[in-house]
């Protein structure tokens, strides 16, 4: 029997992009959040360079409000694959007085991490940051390039983007500029989940249904935890929930679910009628929220 490799077009495209990063840049880094998209990126990078190791480190911007399950998962993954991991903490940026903690009902460290990220880029002189953003996540992301050039301030100028033709990627940049690279730009949420299922990729346990102390607000389900602002009248109850994204506890809402296996999770997503970012409070702040944050250097 002849073994014929048939390309999965989206996977092949992503691997092509990741190899271009390694070839065109001197100091690339993979932005690792511990979420399913960045875990998928790690898998794709493994495929791009096997049998050699992934030729760039992972960078995790730790807000200090991560789910502990995510951090444990991260450390295990790095150990198993022999990867280099760099962690920079939002707490340090706060202690240095560069940013100040938000207060009140919707307080989150999500916007603060931009400063920590930009400082890390400067510290290590990274010229390419690989991220797991997808164009289907949000309207403003639909116009994002695969190689997205940022200035010294990490800013995105949507009116002045380089056209990307065929699959030729132009990574030429000036001193001080860097490029955000999005290898899974063309994947949908369901593509990612099906890939994780088909490849049997390990993901943090909070993606699966589990019992958790939660409270309800604005039709969304929040983790009851010291990091999450909660008013006295907001009652805590125990529910079977899972998370669709792994952001901060402060801005990631849970969904009610009984899906305990990858199969069940994928089935649930296929039937689901709430898009992924709908479960992230930071985008609900305003219709143009994402675009505004992108302009100031958010992923």
């Amino acid at each position: 029997m002849s073994r014929v490799l048939i390309a999965n077009p989206k996977e092949a495209e992503s691997i092509h992009i990741i190899r271009e990063v390694a070839a065109q840049f001197e100091r690339p880094v993979l932005l690792f959040s511990g979420g399913k998209d960045s875990i998928t990126l790690v898998r794709l990078a493994q495929k791009a360079f096997f049998p050699a190791k992934i030729p760039f480190p992972l960078l995790h911007i730790d807000t200090g409000h991560n789910f502990p399950e995510t951090i444990a998962f991260r450390d295990q993954l790095v150990e198993e694959l022999g990867l280099e991991l760099i962690v920079r903490n939002v707490q340090d940026s706060i202690d240095q007085g560069k940013v100040s903690e938000e207060r009140g009902r919707y307080s989150s460290r999500n916007t603060l991490q931009t400063t920590t990220l930009l400082d890390a880029i400067e510290e290590f002189k990274f010229d390419a940051c690989i991220g797991g953003a997808r164009r289907d996540e949000e309207k403003a992301r639909a116009k994002e390039r695969v190689f997205s050039v940022r200035d010294d301030f990490g800013q995105w100028d949507e009116k002045n983007q380089r056209p990307e033709l065929f699959d030729m990627l132009n990574g030429r940049i000036h001193q001080g500029q860097n490029v955000r690279v999005f290898p899974i730009s063309n994947w949908t949420e369901l593509d990612v989940w099906e890939y994780i299922k088909n490849e049997n990729i390990k993901i943090p346990s909070i993606y699966f249904a589990h019992k958790r102390e939660v409270f309800f607000r604005d039709g969304m389900i929040w983790t009851a935890n010291e990091h999450v602002y909660r008013e006295a009248h907001e009652a805590v109850e125990e529910k079977m929930v899972r998370f669709r994204t792994v952001g901060d506890m402060t801005c990631t809402a849970a969904v009610l679910s009984d899906a305990v296996s990858l199969e069940e999770v994928v089935d649930e997503i296929r039937l689901s009628t709430i898009s992924e970012r709908g479960a992230r409070i930071d985008d609900k702040r305003s219709e143009a929220a994402m675009e505004k944050r992108k302009k100031v250097g958010y992923f």
């Binding site: 073994r3 490799l5 691997i15 092509h16 495929k47 360079f49 639909a142 116009k143 033709l165 132009n170």
Partner: protein
């Protein structure tokens, strides 16, 4: 790994107010690709603007600036799927910057949907959209005659527009089987996901049914294998001490273990020893796969070089002629020097001669001494080193290139190499 659904990439083109965003929003709605929260956002925005219908165009108009002006300003990518097919739409705007944007969107697409307002018929913009679909040799064109609700679903209107468009088709590379005319109403959802009862005279498929039966294989792509080396893999570990793999994406045709191959530019011949993807070994790789190849003999091969079957050599030239589309504000002039990126290979290029600017309305060409933004022209180049290419009409990936400005590092032009 396998997602067995086929992937169809579509470029959409229309003029301002042709209802293109509405059509895309409708496709998303009819394929249940709009999630509850997105639908809610559309309902809310529609209400805020005082509409008594759902404005699906709001599903795709992404940027704040656009919403203010009510027009789309760049290429946006939109995703939806049916049970059998994954679709990617590259949505490009219909106003002044149309050439650059549509060329960009069409470069990654196999299918173009060209929208025509049934009340206006074939207009100058239609010529231009079709010209670009023709220049980029897309496999299929769907001519969507929209707003049929505003002409009482009249067959006469449809037939007149079809006849007028068919005159254009005769001036192109397309044969009639590659062009499909569909009368529809995006606003009312007629002939989008299912056949409309209001146009019984139309015997063809609805838009979605038609898109589903298309095959992703590129009619213009030859079966000649081209393997540009992207990255050389040398693990230097105990287990893979002598491993030297050449990784890249395979274009145009298959490669098999044992194939006699020639390395360009060194012209050394050897055979393929292994084809691998992660830790799996394969006997054969299909086009568009990203793979790693090892060779029987030690050969000099690095990034930018190309591996081809020994009996299928491409052209190797230091002087090339190309049809060029200028995608940057800075004009291109005779004597200008650029970095030319052909696939993953880069060489220096000097503009030798500008032959002409081609009118995008099929009315011919005129002599010119420079190419401005959105101009399409015939240009001759001299290169610092030969590139190994096929004419664009035979092999898209090996027949196209971009020019990078040495000062700004911007991508300033895209070229299609002529035979």
């Amino acid at each position: 790994m396998s997602d067995n659904r086929k992937l169809i990439k579509i470029a959409t083109a229309g003029s301002v107010d042709d209802g293109k965003s509405t059509l895309i929003g409708r496709l998303l709605y009819d394929t249940q690709s709009l999630t509850t929260d997105k639908l809610e956002a559309i309902e809310q925005s529609s209400r805020k603007r005082g509409y008594d219908y759902l404005d699906f165009s709001l599903a795709t108009d992404g940027l704040v600036a656009e919403r203010e002006q009510g027009i789309t300003i760049d290429v946006a990518h939109i995703y939806f799927s049916t049970r059998k097919t994954n679709f990617v739409i590259a949505d490009t705007p219909g106003h002044v910057e149309y050439t650059r944007n549509m060329v960009t969107g069409a470069s990654t697409s196999q299918v173009a949907i060209i929208l025509i307002d049934a009340r206006k018929g074939v207009i100058e913009q239609t010529y231009r959209h079709f010209f670009i679909a023709n220049l980029l040799r897309l496999s299929h064109v769907v001519v969507a005659i929209n707003k049929m609700d505003l002409v009482n679903y009249d067959e006469e209107v449809y037939l007149n527009i079809k006849a007028e468009f068919e005159e254009l088709v005769e001036k192109s590379h397309f044969n009639t089987e590659q062009i499909t005319f569909i009368p529809l109403s995006a606003l009312k959802g007629e002939n989008i996901a299912s056949k409309s009862d209001l146009m019984p005279w139309y015997l063809g498929n609805s838009l979605l049914d038609h898109l589903e039966v298309l095959e992703p294989e590129d009619l213009f792509e030859s079966s000649v294998a081209r393997f540009p080396v992207q990255y050389v893999i040398r693990p230097k570990t105990e287990a893979f001490h002598d491993f030297r793999g050449f990784s890249g994406k395979l274009y145009g045709g298959k490669l098999k273990v044992g194939d006699e191959v020639t390395v360009l530019p060194s012209m050394t011949s050897t055979r393929i020893k292994t084809i691998q993807f992660l830790d799996e070994l394969y006997d054969e790789a299909s086009p568009d796969s990203s793979i790693t190849i090892t060779l029987e003999n030690e050969v000099d091969l690095s990034r930018g070089d190309m591996l081809v079957k020994s009996n299928e050599l491409p052209k190797s030239e230091k002087q090339i002629a190309a049809t060029l589309c200028q995608v940057n504000n800075k004009p291109l002039k005779v004597g200008d020097k650029y970095t030319l990126q052909h696939g993953v290979n880069r060489v220096l290029a000097k503009v030798d001669r500008i032959e002409s600017i081609i009118h995008t309305d099929f009315s011919g060409e005129v002599p010119a001494d420079q190419l401005r933004l959105n101009d399409i022209g015939k240009v001759h180049f001299r290169l610092s080193k030969p590139i190994h290419y096929d004419p664009y009409q035979k092999n898209k990936s090996n027949g196209s290139f971009i020019l990078i400005d040495e000062g700004s590092y911007d991508t300033v032009s895209v070229g299609f190499i002529n035979a």
